[in-house]
Symmetry: C2
Subunit: 339 residues, 2 copies
Amino acid sequence: MTQKPNIRDVAKLAGVSTATVSRTLAQPAMVKEETRRRVMSAVEAMGFVPNSSARVLRTQTSKTVILLVRDISNPFYLDIYKGVEEAAFEAGYKVLMGDARDDDVRIEHYIDTVRERHADGMILMIGHLPEKLITGAAKLPPIVVALEAIENLELPTVRVDNVAAARKAVRHLVDLGHRRIAHITGPLDEYLGKARLEGYRRALEEAGIAFDPDLVLAGDFSLVVGHNQTERLLDRRIPFTAIFAASDQMAIGAVTALRSRSLTIPDNVSVVGFDDTLMASMIDPALTTIHQPRREIGRAAMGLMIERLTKAGTPADRCFPTELVVRGSTGPCAATVSP
Amino acid sequence: MTQKPNIRDVAKLAGVSTATVSRTLAQPAMVKEETRRRVMSAVEAMGFVPNSSARVLRTQTSKTVILLVRDISNPFYLDIYKGVEEAAFEAGYKVLMGDARDDDVRIEHYIDTVRERHADGMILMIGHLPEKLITGAAKLPPIVVALEAIENLELPTVRVDNVAAARKAVRHLVDLGHRRIAHITGPLDEYLGKARLEGYRRALEEAGIAFDPDLVLAGDFSLVVGHNQTERLLDRRIPFTAIFAASDQMAIGAVTALRSRSLTIPDNVSVVGFDDTLMASMIDPALTTIHQPRREIGRAAMGLMIERLTKAGTPADRCFPTELVVRGSTGPCAATVSP
DNA sequence: TTGAAAGCGCTAACAC
DNA sequence: GTGTTAGCGCTTTCAA
């Protein structure tokens, strides 16, 4: 037998029907002990592995879930993935991670993967869907959203309070005496960017600090944009003493930009990030940032997905707390920077 | 039609046979223009997406490849993934990334995924396979190895010259006047760890420096082990002026350990890493390290896989050059550290 | 407790 | 150029 054996080969060798082999593998309790033993040794002998396509075709369920993230090169998603994968593994599911790269074609491609029944559902960590998918939302496969929000679409979601978290971050700077606080935002056409900007505004308002649009720089969570926007800020000679970036990646970009202009952190400028990625604690000085329980968020997202897949009705949203982690990148406000 | 439509539904609506629908989608040239148009509009109207399980079952090929990596939390693999994904996308393949975590059960699980025909083949970036898979190697699915090597198994491989690269790294330190150079190794029961250690030895030999086993510390590429082994080295009060770590992660661990003992880099100790990950250029001082063309390596690995899958015979190995990137973490040898 | 047999949705060989 | 049809390998009634 050089060919890959199928269930019929095993059945023949064990002297039973294919149905019995199938049962032995899926519901051993239904099969008499002796028969089961015979079947199992035939399975062993032939190295039989059931063909999952045939099973999926027959049962219409693939026990696989896709985790679609905004940008796979952001280490933030790795811990989410681990949480998702753990919960999935425990429930007998597999996880595939996909990289959306902010590209509608890629997104549709992954949605089709689910439609093709390659996967049962999809955990989204992206802030928008292509227009046509939203208007035809009725046809969307099972989806759970984690940490993001898709406009005009009500979907089971794992959330954190982004407004409150950003407010906490900025308030920390205010408490240190800063009043000229710049903000490098996330994408402002999406929930995540908007919510963190809103938290920034509220913290200023509470402190009686006027909102200055010149201090708000549009970002996209990426390191290089954080770097460039900080340079722009410096070039425009707008005075500021602190930066709140909507992601650690952008905060680190800001740090490198400040350094290249010979500014020290936190003596000249305090910097706060968002996410508490590994790199935040690695750089020197370590980054003050907002921590989110990534592993648990991942587990919860997979939990909602399983609920969505196995029970009727829409599962209830889950909400997780965030935490301000104070490290070396923030300090008391000394003098205003005007390079 | 609230149910998911199948090819029969489309055929009925278009007034053709299922075969024609199938052809229209797979080989449009074979279908008359007018028929094709009718079919396509039926497909659109019903939102038909072919069921891939059925196709896989029928064609025995899934157009999917698994990329199995040693540790998904090492950012090194992200760029590899991107290269693999690009080449795959162009050839109409999909890529799934799996996390081996040095866990035989997980590895077998992924191999089974291929056996189940969920994927056509597997790109390995792990340094060993479970014993039983190696002895039964004849039954292994199509595999390409990237950057690693599996003992007792000849498989199509994308390689770099790890011995030469490590030698280059250590020679750089020698050229700076260092003679007491410590080495934090990779896993010494695997090719990658052994090869880099070998390069270290050769560079010392060439410089007429005696090999001192006390300066060799067993590692596993992880940050935390790099940190701990450096602490151990310091605790043992063995004099050294430089460290060559077999991965950036371990080099960064070494940096944090040195810092926590108030040693400065490179004034007290020079540090060299391996991989040139993003973090290497981010930390301060930036890390001197070995660069590997990750994206191209990923593309090449997928290229070999496609060759393996579509042509007869074993594809030829590919070899890529490495490059020493000198940054701030290495400097002239001043005095020997003896804390 | 087991077997026979239908059929999941698709593709490809063959017939027209 | 297009239709008919036989399975790919499995699970799951239904019957025994």
